[in-house]
Amino acid sequence: MDKINRRHFLGAGLILGASTLLGKETAQKIITDSKDFVPPVIAFPEKKPLKVISDRPPLLESPRDIFTQAITPNDQFFVRWHMPDIPTYIDLNEFRLQVQGSVETPLSLSVDDLKSKFEPVEITSVLQCGGNSRKYFAGTGPATHGVQWGHGAMGCAVWKGVRLKDILNRAGVKGSAKWVGVNGLEKPAMDETPKFFREMNIDEALSGELIVAYAMNGEDLPYLNGFPLRLVIPGHFSDSWVKMLSEITVMDEYRKSFFMDVAYTVPDNDCECIISGSDFEYKRKPIAVMKVKSVIGYPTPNTVIKKGSRVKVTGVAFDQGKGIKEVMISTDGGKSWSATELQKDYGKYAYRPWVYQWEPKAKGEYTIMVRAINRIGNIQPQVNEIGWNAGGYQYNAVDSVNVKIV
């Protein structure tokens, strides 16, 4: 027990005390199977009530109906941390972003420095967890490892901040530099546990598209989305969008780590999936750019609709930044397909909203399906075509929703 941080240990005692003394939020029934696990819906700080898959570290899933909006409101934006010890207060007078390692001039920047001494830039981009939609792998194959997210581990926001390139150039990257490591203020419960540390190639870091964001949809970042600073990597899964970003370390050598080499990896083959045998037999690579995907925001599953109604089916589509060409829809379980109407274009990394006017003419059960294709011809796989990987990453098969017409 001496290995556990004292502060954390005291915190745990407090938590146990609170559960018996205060109004605790309890999922009373003893659950032993994820099929029966209905996460409690609770409001966390600065958030509307969201599905609480875990309170510590906080894992909060957004409801499906947020996909009726092109921009995800901050108070419904999903939350996913890796470590249990997250600062609950940050004093901006003391907070500094350190830029260190293989640089000519190490920097120690306040949020005010970033706002006043650098050119501000803005980008609208999807932020999606690598494990988003993971539970749907179990529809056609074995359930994968990891948190069984529905579609609600993604959102799209307008991010404002400073180019990572500008920060690195201000510090002056040395010629020997090959990698950039990033980490934030979240801490493990024990000192021995590896920190959440992510790395990227120096060329990627200097590409000009990555930003250190201090605002999200025109406001400070919500605490649980990484206040006061978060890295934004448009087009990429969120595993390196480090929250509460506090250190940028320029390195000459790659640093081996669990979070780079084991977590967030897929088999290093063409389908990025397991063809046969065990997942441990494959050489692995980190997940990186996102795959073309579309989801239905309305109707939600099991909606009951009156025959003859004019139903406005809506949702969003996105890809790695090539741009959505078309979103097809089927209301007969995939037998026939029609085009949806693409709505306003918020930029190549943003959600592309789509709409389809539907008038169901007969009573009965209907399966609505959507399938997006991007400008370079990437198309969503059918559910029975998607390649399986043990980590349950990058799920992007055709989305479907069952509704009842009465």
Binding site: E25, P45, S54, P188, M190, T193, S278
Partner: protein, 104 residues
Amino acid sequence: MKKIFLLTLFLSVTAFSQVAKPIEMPYVDYPMVKGDHDEVAQQYCLICHSWGYILNQGKKSRPYWSGTVAKMVNEFKAPIGKEDQQIIINYLVKHYGYESTAQH
């Protein structure tokens, strides 16, 4: 009119400002099956994460839970002795899994 403008300005400033005091994180009491030394699983697993992590995985095979406990010890450095590791694996397989040699 001026009043309304000032009021609007005030509201927008407060809405955009940072959290002034520490946030308070809710606590969720995810219930665990009692017995078979659930206290050992509680003692170690809950150091780093809530029981929601286990519930959300669904029923898993013995190799899966053995591998997961090994990951917690080897990668995340959970201070669990060999004997307690076995107690936790048996508890998870019995109540949150099934006997099988399948990996998943």
